[in-house]
Amino acid sequence: MTKHLSLLLALFLLILFFSLLNPLFFSMPTIQAIGNQIPDLTFLAVALTLVMITGGIDLSVGSVLALCSSIIGVHMISNGASLSEAFLISLFGGALCGLITGTITTLGKIPSFIVTLGMLECARGVAYLVTDSQTVYIGSEVGVLAESTVFLGVSPMFILAIVIVVLGQLLLSRTVYGRYLVAIGTNLDAVRLSGINPTPYQISVFIISGTLCAFAALSLTARLASSDPNAAIGLELSAIAAAVIGGTSLMGGRGSVIGSFIGVLIIAVLQTGLASLGIDEPTKRIITGAVIVFAALMDFWRTKQLRA
């Protein structure tokens, strides 16, 4: 926990700051509103953390999310499938996207930046194709997953997001698989020289990323009670920002899932807080940009001090 002390402090100060400006900010409904909107970004941030630790990047997550969401909507409405059936197929779709990008990147030795940029376009195109560029309204059958009244005042998707964060962190820090991911990101040649074939690990991390996109899709679809083929445009950048704020290195080899989750919270609190004040759009964006850079800087300074 001490590792994330500066991040938690930044989060705390943000909450304090907005609560001072607007007494209604620190209230159960606001906390629920934030809790209800973070699951999609959380899943993507976990995905990005794992990919970035191996030294790769996945720019396609927003589009793959939209594709998975479209699959859920179309399958339920046009084909009359149940939610679990539809979600299962979208999981498969997300994993398939990850398998394609992972395989091309790793075996073709092409930077994941460009391969996933290609997937960003393709997946968005397929999303428009399957939905015929229309929002598919599903209704409460899926909407119930985003309702915060179900259990302890939080939504089922929120609980699932927390479970994924915990599992992601355990995978990263407590398993051989996680150690290999860090090793690949730190020094790929050393991994090869020690007789380990990195290829399956590199491909699998993109499959995990694609699968997590399907989870994110489920949560966004639930929140909108519809599938929106335009969903999550640019959300990959928020996910990357959350991971970097949380101390994940863009160069690979360093990062933590918990840190990324705190990064998600910082972004969400900032967004909600600024909205609660009704600050004008240009100022909002300037503040958001500044806070992202500042939070990342703070983490960087602290890590340097810890090493020294």
């Binding site: 100060l13 607007n22 229309q134 309204y137 335009n230 600050i279 503040i287």
Partner: protein
């Protein structure tokens, strides 16, 4: 870890926070819970919504004691999820009324239903919510806004008057998921059918100038004989205009738009764009807020949907 390190970062955070404070303090604190109205719009990067925001601010300044205004928009027209989040946040902040220009005609309905359930007055402006779905969900939300279908039909008729039957035209649609994009496309189609003019190609440029520019350029290489372009908003009309200028066909191709943003107003004056439609964005929000205030004063007031005027803008009107 050391305490000095924590202390240093603490100090730095405070410096930032005080800077933030200078940015935003002044208006929001210490109001003793008067009426608060949240205006939730689409992209404030679009001049149409910026004008709408200004109109709402002017309306509030005329009666500063009557209510407090919280204005929020999203970063681009398609950021649906953020708009739903804003509605939830406004409910959490216990505002008294939400006046919303929905980014999607269907997907906003569950969030607005929650808002109504929390006792908040909800007024729909600009882009009409899906009436079938509202009925299905048993929610009643009054609508204040223009009729995009007849508006587009009239703009289309101006173009038709300047062309002859069996001429070819292109259409640039807005984001297809939004109701007003569908309505404007239908209005254009009706006007073209009436004049027996053929729409040879129609694509969505998602309301955006850059996308419209690229799409128009490629359409024009495929259909070199095109005589007119119907753009569902002015940003796309500007993009189409640039594409037409690039190939030097300004005299041969007529363009119409929708919204009357200032750049297009100038282009109409200069004779580069034939016509656009003014939906009076500044008044739209004010009408919506008026409706909200009426409902807050008397919760049993029954409000019918109110159609706001759409005026044609051509060179001779300016």
């Amino acid at each position: 870890m050391s305490w000095t390190a924590t202390l240093t970062s603490l100090k730095k955070v405070f410096t930032l926070l005080s800077a933030l404070f200078l940015f935003s303090c002044g208006d929001t604190s210490d109001s003793e819970r008067g009426i608060r109205v949240a205006l939730v719009m689409k992209s404030l990067a679009n001049e149409f919504f910026a004008t709408m925001a200004k109109g709402a601010e002017a309306h509030q300044q005329k009666m500063p004691d009557r209510y407090e205004l919280i204005i929020n928009g999203i970063k681009d027209e398609r950021d649906l999820s953020r708009q739903v989040a804003i509605v939830d946040e406004m409910v959490a902040l216990r505002v008294d009324a939400i006046v919303i220009a929905p980014a999607d005609s269907k997907a906003l309905i569950p969030a607005l239903k929650r808002a109504k359930g929390a006792g908040i007055v909800v007024i729909n402006i600009d882009n009409k919510l899906d009436q079938e779905l509202l009925a299905e969900e048993e929610v009643k939300i009054p609508f204040v806004g223009p009729n995009n279908l007849t508006g587009a039909q009239r703009v289309g008729a101006v173009l038709a008057d300047n062309l002859s039957p069996s001429d070819q035209v292109l259409m640039l649609e807005g984001t297809r998921t939004s109701f007003n994009a569908q309505q404007r496309a239908r209005g254009f189609e009706l006007a073209m059918n009436e004049a027996a003019i053929e729409i040879v190609d129609s694509q969505s440029a998602n309301w955006e100038m850059r996308e419209a520019n690229i799409i128009t350029a490629s359409m024009l290489t495929r259909y070199p004989d095109v005589k007119g372009i119907l753009a569902a908003n002015d940003s796309m009309a500007m993009g189409a205009l640039a594409a037409v200028k690039t190939i030097g066909k300004l005299d041969a191709i007529q363009i119409v738009g929708f919204d009357n943003i200032s750049a297009v107003n100038q282009a109409v004056t200069a004779g580069e764009i034939l016509a656009t439609a003014d939906q009076h964005a500044d008044k739209l929000a004010a009408y919506g807020i008026d409706y909200a205030l009426t409902l807050l004063a008397d919760e049993n007031a029954i409000l019918e949907d109110r159609e706001t005027p759409v005026d044609l803008v051509t060179a001779k009107d300016i």
